[in-house]
Subunit: 139 residues, 2 copies
DNA sequence: ATAGCTGCAAATGCTTTGCAAGGCC
DNA sequence: GGCCTTGCAAAGCATTTGCAGCTAT
């Protein structure tokens, strides 16, 4: 375990969740090393590699709990699986289609101009920009 | 059938596909009435309502064929289902989360500024902007 | 004739759920 | 003790696939 486990516990407690062994381990993997973009599968593998026994169901439960608590943000880029981003601030993404990897683009770097007005009674929930990137065609 | 079936056949032929009964019917539903945003399910229902017997598998096959042929564009907004857009030109989307409906935003109206440089050997496949919209919170 | 299509049903892959056993406060 | 969590296995859902029979060219 790399993260300060006391700090992790506080983070979990702040989210009104119980600091169970599994949750602390997952929080450590997620929050102890800069911004990360992970899927349920990759998080599961990482946990098992570190010798942490967690079931996939628990991974899903907690990814959702963390998301509801505002500790994670779901990024929808792929029709077949969900990505979760530990960076919850306003920003956008590169998506490397060949590898299925995400990379942050700070919101102050790239911006969206002139969003049209919304119908009455509606609000913007979020503005998601995904720059899909691929290898050059081999010509 | 509303569309000019001769025109539809030409469109299908141009995509190097055979103008079968099912394909013509689907093309009619898709391309004979302005821009549309549909899912496999909705297209299937519409076909059945019009009395066109088509299986879901065929719907999926043809949505993909049309997409590969550049007649449709897949829009990824929802983790659980795929949307297809009959507008293949460069543009963006509002997504009404409560109803699961899409609406086009012309690219010349709203724009993305300052896309960062890409690593060498990489190209932009597309820039997708999704403005997620929800009903105002009832305060 | 033959290559391509269709439809069904079975299979897949990711995600969710039900429920009994275990852990935190 | 009581409620939240976990883990397993089963269920769920959108989508894909295998394959036998049909259809356009």
């Amino acid at each position: 375990m790399n993260g300060d486990s006391c700090e992790l516990e506080l983070k979990i407690r702040a989210a009104k969740l119980r600091p169970t062994r599994q949750r602390i381990a997952l929080a450590d993997l997620l929050f102890s090393g800069g911004n990360r973009h992970i899927t349920a599968e990759t998080l599961h593998s990482e946990a098992l590699e570190k010798g942490v026994k967690v079931s996939l169901a628990t991974i899903y439960n907690n990814l959702h709990h963390f998301t509801e608590a505002g500790l994670l943000r779901e990024v929808i880029v792929d029709a077949s699986k969900s990505y979760f981003d530990t960076n919850t601030s306003d920003h956008h993404h590169f998506f490397f289609e060949d590898e299925g990897k995400l990379q942050d683009i700070p919101a102050d770097l790239m911006s969206v101009e002139n969003i049209p007005n919304l119908p009455n009674g509606m609000t913007i929930a979020s503005v998601d920009v995904i720059v899909r990137v691929k290898k050059n065609d081999a010509n």
